[in-house]
């Protein structure tokens, strides 16, 4: 069988050093810092005040408007502050700090629902919204919004994303092996909510064991298929995943639902199943702490709001001299300047590069080798975006489709002249947005 994939992309060294390491439970942290903005959309509003006692799973922040998400405490204890705190995705922002009482007592709202399969789609949506579930693949888009397509849209397919195409990261890989049943349960719940009949799980070919486990699990289920995909970055990007599995192209500027598809990450499916069956809001997730800069790389189940330094300590501290701390993957992650940042819902991993792995090379002139053109999965001409970007010709960048760029990083990764293409394109996007607003 021809192995399915998309056009373009790159294949960096996979570096999945933790792929055979079972998920470990990080001991309960002494304190957690929970930002009110962990998702795409409007930040939540705090519903508690300093000094309040809270129990695990209790809501402490309320979603504001349709594209927003509830926030819950991940431990039981006392609120000690509500103030600005370093945030892994940008400037310091409002966060709630909770000191643990060490008891991890659950809030009464967290309870099992044995009849979950009788729930109406709208009830499921309500549970997902209440539980503060967002996409766990990194983008952190509120899940209930994706589960509530507009009436006039015909959705016929759900795709679970188990590609994990970023080098180093293995949390989804481990979940598919260790939580196979729950993930498929989650997929069934999603399919029921959206009333679709055809379901796919896309997994990159380098995860043979996960593919096998998932195939076992769905045996005799006619409407589900596990699709083995070529190991290529960005296979797990929504548009590329849909192209690979269904051969449908999401229109420029459009969404997967424009082609009848909803894509969810495998971790999100697990979170949905936990929320619907066990009443558990999204208060923990699995992350990969990895890279040559850490002594004992591991896959950890951690409470939201755990500080990076606690996890790095647990993993034995730095190995060698640390050069760069990245939240997320090597291609799309965010470099951090402090370890005082917390795990948020979109944290897929912490990647530690050693000092000699981060060599800063001077950009050279573009040699028109077109490696960036060949690797761009959106079929842009990144070299011109770079050239015009450097000259600040933003309108030219817009004409060349800068706004379609997904910032996947293939072009900058592959560029032999080391031109910071993504940086220039990001800048161009901001400038375009700015002058569009003015109009």
């Amino acid at each position: 069988m021809r192995i399915r994939s998309f056009r373009g992309g790159v294949h960096p060294p996979e570096e999945k050093i933790t792929s055979q390491k079972p998920i470990q439970e990080l001991p309960l942290p002494k304190k957690v810092v929970i930002p009110l903005s962990q998702h795409t959309g409007v930040p939540a509003r705090p519903t508690v005040k300093v000094g309040d006692r809270v129990k695990t799973g209790q809501r402490i922040g309320e979603a504001q408007g349709p594209i927003s998400s509830n926030i819950h405490t991940s431990i039981s204890g006392k609120i000690t502050s509500i103030e600005n705190h370093p945030h892994p995705l940008g400037p310091p922002s409002l966060a709630i700090t909770i000191e643990s009482d060490g008891r991890d007592e659950h809030h009464p709202s967290v309870k099992h629902n044995n009849d979950y399969f009788k729930l109406h789609p709208n009830e499921i949506r309500e549970i997902v919204r209440g539980a503060g579930i967002v996409g766990l693949g990194g983008a952190a888009f509120p899940t209930h919004v994706k589960l509530s397509p507009p009436e006039d849209r015909w959705i016929d397919t759900v795709i679970l994303n188990g590609c994990e195409c970023e080098p180093y990261l293995t949390c989804d890989h481990r979940l598919m092996i260790e939580k196979t049943y729950e993930i498929i349960e989650g997929l069934k719940i999603i399919a029921k909510t959206l009333e679709v009949t055809s379901c796919y799980v896309g997994i990159e070919k380098n995860k043979e064991d996960a593919i096998k486990a998932m195939r076992e699990e769905i045996r005799n289920k006619a409407n589900m298929e596990i699709v083995s995909l070529k190991t290529k970055y960005p296979q797990g990007s929504e548009k590329q995943l849909i192209e690979a599995i269904l051969n449908r192209k999401v229109p420029s500027g459009g969404l997967p639902l424009d082609v009848g598809v909803v894509v969810q990450n495998v971790g999100t499916a697990l979170a949905i199943s936990e929320a619907v069956k066990k009443g558990r809001p999204l208060i923990e997730r699995v992350i990969t702490v990895t890279g040559r800069g850490i002594k004992n790389p591991a896959n950890l189940r951690v409470r939201m709001g755990t500080l990076f330094k606690d996890m790095i300590d647990y993993c034995g501290g730095f190995a060698g001299k640390p050069g760069k701390i990245i939240m997320g993957g090597a291609l799309m992650g965010f470099a951090q300047h402090t370890l005082d940042v917390p795990v948020i819902k979109g944290t897929t991993g912490i990647l530690l590069l050693t000092e000699d792995e981060v060599n800063i090379e001077e950009p050279q002139p573009c040699i028109k080798c077109a490696r960036c053109v060949d690797s761009c999965p959106i079929y842009l001409l990144p070299l011109y975006l770079g050239i015009y970007g450097e000259k600040e010709l933003w309108r030219k960048c817009e004409e060349l489709g800068a706004l379609d760029c997904t910032e996947c990083g293939c072009c900058a990764y592959i560029c032999p002249a080391r031109i910071p293409l993504v940086q220039l394109i990001k800048l161009a996007k901001q400038e375009i947005a700015a002058y569009r607003k003015k109009k």
């Binding site: 229109p251 420029s252 760069k324 090597a330 981060v358 002139p365 053109v373 079929y379 910071p420 990001k426």
Partner: protein, 314 residues
Amino acid sequence: MKEEHFLVSTSPHIRSAEDIPKIMYAVIIALIPVAIASIYFFRLWAIKLMAVCIITAMGTEDIFQRLRKKDITVFDGSAIITGLLLAFILPPSLPLWAASLGTFFAIALGKQIFGGLGYNIFNPALLGRAFLMATFPVLMTTWTKPFSLDVVTSATPLAQMKFAQSFVSHQSLFLGNVSGSLGETSALAILIGASFLLIRKIIDWRIPAGYLGTVVLLSSIFWFIDPKGFADPLWHLLAGGLILGAFFMAPDMVTTPVTKRGRWVFGIGCGLILIVIRSWSGLPEGVMYSILLMNAITPLINRFTHPRIFGEQK
């Protein structure tokens, strides 16, 4: 834990191992078989010619970068390639001063004037040859028989076809046992180097495919119509600098289109021009002009072959 200093920069946080020098040195490695073949056929002349061209190329680059107060990148491999390629397309008996002058011109006016590597429009080595052809036409058409170290004026196979209607055998052409420029005589050596470049994906196969494909197609048609007046396609492929040009000059990334469709256009265009020149013009060889002409319209090709963006509606 002590707070350390962490580097903060935009993603991606890893870069592929292939940088400009790695690409350039891969091209140089690919040129080694050709260099060996030329030394085998033309002995000391080959060594001297290559040495002079490479040294002049690097020296000129160095001087210009110093004058323009740029970083000195003499060792990034690109100047070596220009020098070596130019040596390969010169007659083995060319006086060394002329070779040196041509190389100076190639680097100075073919590359540095435009702003250095990456900014030039024309393939510098070909421009160097064009300059020598215009200035020293006699020297540039004085050929030598392989293995003989004396200058014996002898016509190249293409000139023989054109002006005497006689064809050299395919086998001699393939092995290189004919008169011609230093490095374009042995198709075998060139193909060994070319396969390395294709496997390493240093050059895009579309350009040689378009170029050679067009030549074969058109020459087959003409040959069918008039087998006496026209050479057969295989002969066209093997004669002159075509294979060297198709694998080492035409696909030069700096001076060719960046889009895939554009590369087809480029290769096919080169093929068309070549056949026209070889069949109907007064010039015996058209590889150089075909590539230089297509270099000239490369910006235009780029403009008209933008790929349609993913999911863009018609």
